[in-house]
């Protein structure tokens, strides 16, 4: 028994176990997702995060130990972002046709995302630290963390909010767009990408390559725009980590 305990202690502290478990949980989530006929309520990312978080808490494993293994997956976010140029190139004619609608949708969406997040959390009594961490929630993780740091939010809290935002968008956006009678896949993709970044884009890619291309484009453009707008809006609202004046 002692020997098994020893092996367990060794494994929970090693990067290998957590890297493998992240993959296993993801694959299991995908399998469940397909088995349930693609029901969006079983968002595979949300399921995987909940399971891994529960496992870490149960075994008393610190996040830093988990991340030592999972960082190899996290690292691929960079090259995957670069790879978004490929669907964009494949749909370049449609993009050129829609340059003005894309610009207007993007600007409206970016401002709405920042203001509505701050405003709603303020109405519900959130602390100013929380408001500042929420402001860049629709932007892809690494950029959102950078913005949060700049405006006085908590970067690691922002990372969590970004993921939750993506899950909400991936689960609810397709139904909402159907209800609004938006059938143009370019519009669907851009809206999902602006509001729900990469996790939304993963969902948009399931709708079609066209929707995925526009969602991917929205990730990059909204990252740029929010990086410029969020500090200005926060300044305009006189919002600081210590509270509203």
């Amino acid at each position: 028994m002692d020997k098994i305990g020893g092996i367990w202690v060794y494994l929970t502290a090693s990067p290998l176990l957590w890297l493998m478990l992240t993959l296993v949980v993801y694959l299991a989530g995908q399998w469940l997702f397909r088995r349930s006929g693609g029901r969006a309520l079983f968002n595979p990312v949300a399921l995987a995060i909940a399971l891994l978080a529960a496992l870490l808490l149960l075994t008393g494993t610190p996040y830093s130990t988990y991340f030592a293994g999972a960082q190899f997956i996290h690292f691929l976010l960079g090259p995957a972002t670069v790879a978004l140029a490929i669907p964009l190139y494949q749909h370049r004619n449609r993009v050129r046709q829609l340059l003005l609608p894309i610009s207007v949708g993007l600007l409206a969406g970016s401002i709405t995302a920042i203001l509505s997040a701050i405003g709603l959390a303020w109405l519900l009594g959130g602390s100013s630290r929380t408001l500042l961490s929420l402001a860049p929630k629709s932007v892809t993780t690494p950029v959102a963390m950078g913005i949060a740091e700049k405006i006085g939010g908590l970067p690691s809290l922002t990372a969590v909010m970004v993921i939750l935002t993506g899950v909400v968008g991936a689960v609810a956006a397709p139904a909402l767009l159907g209800w609004l009678r938006i059938w143009d896949e370019a519009v669907q993709g851009l809206a999902i990408g602006v509001a729900a970044h990469g996790i939304g884009t993963a969902r948009a890619l399931q709708i079609s390559g066209m929707a995925g291309a526009f969602a991917g484009m929205a990730i990059g453009l909204n990252a740029l725009l929010t990086a410029l707008l969020a500090p200005l809006i926060v300044q305009w609202l006189h919002l600081t980590p210590n509270g509203l004046p």
């Binding site: 996290h74 109405l123 929420l134 909400v168």
Partner: protein, 124 residues
Amino acid sequence: MGNYAMIGALTVLLAFQLVGEILVQISGLPAPGPVIGMVLLLLALYWRGALPDALRTVAETLLSHLSLLFIPAGVGIIQHGARLAEEWLAIIVALALSTLITVAVTALAMQAVIRRQPGSQRDG
């Protein structure tokens, strides 16, 4: 073709990311390196006028598992138990509503401009 082409394609993606990171460091742009790398790769593809098969395959593989790549950051939720316990209602409601409002506003704004564009009633 073969295995070298795949490694080559992966190297291309990493190289563009690297150039993006360097440009951000030099210029102080507010955008992240990978986003700049994406723009540069798009320009390079335009300039080349063709998409290599291996690059398309590697990109499609990576992007079809995009959601996997967000799991490690998401598990970071365990570091914020106290704040979430205190402010979970404000956080969850604001986050969910704001996301839905953003989807609707973006889609309706873009759709409205498309409808005004002469000769572009090609959606549906």
